[in-house]
């Protein structure tokens, strides 16, 4: 479980996060949604320690991120897996080296042990026979899967994903979403996914946090999101024609 308590973050004059309070549950896929520029990525980067919020506290279980010492930080980092928007695979390394990288950094395992684990996670994300290829030589969907493999190779307790299906076709996007959810349940991870994709909301939105201009305006589940009267949420949810039509059909049926 991760809890944030009144987080504020500014860049220069501009306040990007204006006091956000919520919890992200263990063993669930927690979604942060909202329009582009609403501060989703900034919130995520505060959670993983890339940005320091000016105010507010972040709890990992019962420990406060801001009050951890160097050693506690190091231990926490080993428990974090992050899937970046573009994959962020190291393009000078092969797929195998990319996935092995966290193990080389965090463990003292023998090469053969590391390799065994690498093959295990690559298999888990349904990738085989790509070990010796470079990121540029495989498709976007495969890169995302390698990136997931790298994020989970060291058995993280927390998994963060920034727009995991941006740039993917709808079918591949669903495969990636489902993979993230399966892994979350399988290993009982606290997963946080940033997205603006309504398909993901429907597929995997077990807990949803809606941001608008740096403020949390709504939270709930993917069933509740279609029933809420909150105007910000409805205008986001029904911004696509498809969802408008679905809503109209539902209203007619009633």
């Amino acid at each position: 479980m991760i809890k944030v308590d009144n987080i504020r973050k500014r860049f220069g004059e501009e306040e990007i996060l204006k006091g956000i309070t919520t919890t992200f549950d263990k063993g669930k896929t927690n979604l942060i949604i909202g329009q582009s520029g609403s501060g989703k990525t900034v919130l995520l980067k505060c959670l993983i320690g890339l940005f320091q919020p000016e105010e507010g506290l972040i709890y990992f279980e019962d420990k406060i991120l801001q009050e951890m010492n160097e050693e506690e930080h190091r231990v926490l980092r080993e428990d974090l897996g992050m899937l970046f928007q573009g994959g962020a695979l190291f393009d000078s390394m092969t797929i195998e080296e990319n996935v092995m990288f966290p193990l080389r950094m965090f463990t003292t395992q023998k090469k053969s042990e590391m390799l065994e684990r690498v093959n295990e996670v690559l298999k888990r994300v349904n990738l085989e026979n790509v070990n010796k290829k470079y990121p540029a030589e495989i498709s976007g969907g495969m890169q995302k899967r390698v990136s997931i493999a790298r994020a989970i190779v060291n058995n993280p307790k927390y998994l963060f994903c920034d727009e995991p299906n941006s740039g993917l076709d709808p079918k591949t996007a669903i495969v990636i979403d489902n993979l993230i959810q399966e892994i979350t349940h399988e290993y009982n991870i606290t997963t946080i996914v940033v997205t603006h994709d309504m398909n993901s909301v429907m597929e995997i939105g077990e807990k949803i946090v809606f941001l608008k201009n740096g403020t949390l305006v709504w939270q709930g589940t993917n069933e509740e999101i279609f029933k809420t009267d909150n105007e910000d949420v409805t205008s986001f949810v029904y911004s696509s024609d498809l969802f408008k039509k679905i809503r109209d059909i539902q209203i007619k049926e009633q």
């Binding site: 320690g49 573009g86 962020a88 965090f106």
Partner: protein, 245 residues
Amino acid sequence: MKYLKDIGSYFLMLKRVFSSFTKSAVLKKLIFKEIDDLIIGSMPIVAFISFFVGGVIAIQTALNIDNPLIPEYLVGFATRQSIILEFAPTFISIIMAGKVGSFITSSIGSMRVTEQIDALEVMGINSLNYLVFPKIVALLLYPFVIAVAMFLGILGGWVAGVYGGFSTSAAFIQGLQEDFIPFHIIYAFIKTFVFAFILATVPSWQGYFMKGGALEVGKASTTSFVWTSVLIILANYIVTQLLLS
């Protein structure tokens, strides 16, 4: 104001490059890779340019001293002086600012825009140490590149002078030995170390702190070349003033 801030960020960067070191086994591999990319990879172009520019220096000198009173060995002498003092250390470094410098800026810059640097930081790796320190170590071998440039430049001068009929081999070699001041070599290599440090750190700094996307990576490489070459020229002036006058 903006320049002051830039300069501040450069020195803060240097401080972080030399703190929280990456695992040594990992660093060792990175250093060898940088030696391959930055040093070995630059040899062909450096060799090519040095040899031919050395030749041109010899021909130009010979053509400009048609006066029979001026001794023939001057061709060798002038070639040696210009190559050791300026051409090899400074001119080659400016070329390296274009080749190695823009390579460093664009590779670090694209790691920045594709969040590879963030990925390192999330894993608790000091990305500045990981990325920049190996480059500084690799460029400790840079004087070797300059030594090769000196040798090939002089060889090029000899070939052009002798086979072009501007000087006899004996006179050229006499010129090479005439009035030889060993301190000039020391001066040249002190400069080279200073330039190597600039070449490793300034382009890294430009790439590391860039913002934006692929287009900005290209712009950053250009800006990086300007900064690096201007700093090399300024450093050249300062070191020369301190050591030779």
